[in-house]
């Protein structure tokens, strides 16, 4: 962490910590705690995707699939085999990482459009598997009988308890991401984003780093998926389809691809749009998402955080040209 982040981090943490105390006492927004639990879960996915898209410059339309692998692995291990959720969680993470590595090694040799299509195709295949393996996943009608979470023998029952559990993990993941970005790997990723060929000729093992970030983003998505499973205790394949992958991408883009704070902001915003404000006209949902995505891509490619004036001193990417592409 450097510069402003040193101040923003505890500030945001305080805000998040105090939020339920406020929300709980106001009837009109008391259910916001529940929405914020979802926002926290999705944030874990979008922080990983932010590293991949914003910093390494690689696109992935398969995040919902990894989210789903984590969710179903956790659901099957606990519901079927009676494992503790905390023991099931690493299973999902390992499964998603393994799959991500298998797909990532050949896929990340591709660039731009081809990479997008490859991850898109992979994501759709995974959704088909979720729908077809009735015996394991319950198929389209869903998977039930998933237990909730416990900590030291006590059930995590209330929304408030879930809220703090999930957001503690969000901040741990955030710390971890900041740590990565300010390490050798982080600098290498940015170099890959700016000019892959140049990075490679300077001795950066570009393909290895790209695969590693892809696997990391998949692992984080699976971690989030595990929380999701035990929070909602009901899974259907439609929670992990292409639309959700696009939604995760949108979360990262709205806030600002090249900023972890942006990803967090975008995720909270989009979760509120999806779970609260759009409930009124649910059928418009897809139109609204399309419109937001288009407007952001055309007019605000660096997301909402680019509207905040930058102070000198922070060592994030500062570049006048809108070159956020991968070729």
């Amino acid at each position: 962490m450097s510069g402003r982040d040193r101040w923003i981090f505890p500030g945001v943490m305080l805000l998040v910590a105090l939020f339920p105390l406020l929300a709980r006492n106001i009837d009109a927004i008391s259910h916001y705690v529940d929405i914020m639990v979802f926002a926290g879960i999705f944030s874990i996915v979008s922080l990983g995707l932010c590293l991949l898209m914003g910093y390494a410059g690689q696109i992935s339309l398969a995040q919902a699939a990894f989210f789903g692998i984590g969710a179903y692995a956790s659901g099957i291990m606990t519901g079927r085999f009676g494992w503790n959720p905390w023991a099931a969680m690493p299973v999902g993470i390992f499964a998603a990482s393994g799959v991500a590595w298998l797909v990532g090694v050949p896929a990340l040799r591709l660039k731009g459009h081809y990479l997008a299509m490859a991850t898109l195709g992979f994501g759709v295949i995974v959704t088909i598997v979720f729908s077809e393996e009735l015996e394991w996943t319950g198929g389209p009608s869903g998977m039930v009988d998933i237990p909730g979470m416990t900590i030291a023998g006590r059930a995590v029952a209330s929304e408030i308890a879930w809220y703090y559990l999930v957001w503690v993990f969000v901040f741990l993941v955030l710390l971890f991401c900041f740590h990565i970005l300010h390490s050798r790997v982080g600098r290498a990723l940015r170099a890959i984003h700016e000019q892959e060929t140049a990075a490679e000729s300077m001795g950066v093992p570009t393909s290895r780093y790209k695969v590693q970030v892809f696997v990391l983003s998949a692992a984080l998505a699976a971690l989030a998926g595990s929380f999701y499973t035990h929070y909602v205790t009901f899974l259907t394949p439609s929670s992990f389809n292409l639309m959700w992958s696009i939604r995760f991408m949108l979360m990262v883009m709205v806030g600002g691809m090249q900023s972890l704070w942006g990803a967090l902001l975008g995720t909270v915003l989009l979760t509120f749009i999806g779970n609260e404000w759009l409930q009124v006209f649910a059928d418009f949902e897809i139109l609204v998402y399309g419109a937001i995505l288009l407007v952001v891509a055309l007019f605000l490619p660096k997301g909402l955080v680019s509207l905040v004036p930058r102070r000198t001193g922070s060592k994030d990417i500062r570049k006048p040209a809108a070159n956020d592409g991968s070729s």
């Binding site: 898209m53 410059g57 696109i59 797909v103 050949p106 896929a107 040799r109 591709l110 660039k111 731009g112 459009h113 081809y114 997008a116 299509m117 490859a118 898109l120 195709g121 992979f122 759709v124 295949i125 088909i128 598997v129 729908s131 077809e132 292409l242 696009i246 991408m249 883009m253 059928d283 418009f284 897809i286 139109l287 998402y289 399309g290 419109a291 995505l293 288009l294 891509a297 055309l298 490619p301 809108a322 070159n323 956020d324 592409g325 991968s326 070729s327």
Partner: protein, 300 residues
């Protein structure tokens, strides 16, 4: 007797595979036309197919047009959609990065899907077949007349396109833009207009595919993504930009899918084409008919 039924089944699957395969080929050709001129992969290509089918349904059911007129009107409407897409969206993003362009065409695809859901609802629609008549029985396999229409119309489109690109001034100009946009501009080819034309043409071809397939497989608002993805599989497998390759690869994908649905598992039939797409992307991104040298020079 057993051998006989096995034989007819085989033929039946082959016919339905061929039918859906030429549809994938048309979608792939749509990708190729835009890619050839702009080097953009249009993620909304599948939505053109969906819109084509649904517009035709609208013209037949609501306006009671004869099918031929409805066909033409639907293709025209979707062509207009393609025109608007280029004129009002893609042209604004002329200097955008590849990542932004991907996201822009994805958002157009979501928007089109949303509009379709709004306009037509979530139910699948059907169209009457182009010609009435009972299925033709050929060696025990029942062939719907509409399947013949699909194949005939697709063949016509491919022939017409071949003539267009090799004989007409516009077609040659479009190919020139593909080869080298700067040089094309210098010899006086209006590159903007050629890009516009490529979007209109590719949307119209998508619509043709949508109209001819709707009587067989119905059409609903969310069919675009999967059709687009499989069509892209055909485009890659055939070598991106290669029309003949797209046709062959589309038929291969259609046959693979149909045989899988018949003999292995109908639930996984959609996964077959996608798996082939992944294999092609991973191990033979230049396609069956492309050269691996040339593919290194392409910009994705």
């Amino acid at each position: 007797m057993d051998g006989f039924t096995l034989g007819t089944q085989w033929l039946q699957y082959a016919v339905s595979g061929l039918t859906i395969g030429v549809i994938y080929a048309l979608v792939a050709i749509g990708y190729n036309i835009i890619y050839n001129v702009t080097e953009i992969i249009n993620f909304a290509q599948g939505e053109f197919v969906m819109l084509g089918g649904l517009f035709a349904v609208f013209f037949v059911e609501s306006l009671h047009l004869p099918i031929i007129l409805a066909f033409a009107a639907a293709v025209g409407m979707v062509g207009l959609v393609g025109l608007c897409m280029d004129r009002f969206i893609i042209r604004r993003a002329r200097n955008a990065s590849v990542l932004s362009l991907i996201i822009i065409t994805i958002s157009v695809s979501i928007l089109l899907k949303g509009v379709a859901m709004f306009g037509w609802g979530k139910d699948p629609y059907s169209l009457p077949a182009f010609s009435s008549g009972s299925p033709i029985i050929f060696r025990g396999a029942a062939i719907q007349p509409q399947a013949l229409w699909v194949i005939a119309v697709s063949a016509l489109v491919v022939i017409a396109l071949t003539f267009f690109f090799h004989r007409s001034v516009y077609g040659k100009a479009m190919l020139a833009c593909a080869d080298n946009p700067n040089a094309a501009r210098m010899v006086g080819i209006p590159v903007h207009r050629m890009v516009l034309l490529s979007f209109v043409l590719s949307a119209a071809i998508g619509a043709v595919a949508g109209v001819v397939i709707t009587p067989i497989s119905l059409m609903e608002y969310d069919r675009g993504a999967l059709l687009g993805l499989k069509g892209f599989g055909a485009a890659v497998l055939g070598g991106l930009g290669n029309f003949f390759g797209a046709l062959v690869a589309g038929v291969i994908l259609g046959l693979a899918e149909s045989f899988c649905a018949g003999y292995l598992s109908s639930g996984y039939k959609d996964a077959v084409a996608l798996t082939l797409l992944l294999l092609a992307l991973f191990f033979k991104p230049e396609g069956l008919f492309g050269s691996s040298e040339a593919v290194k020079l392409k910009r994705f």
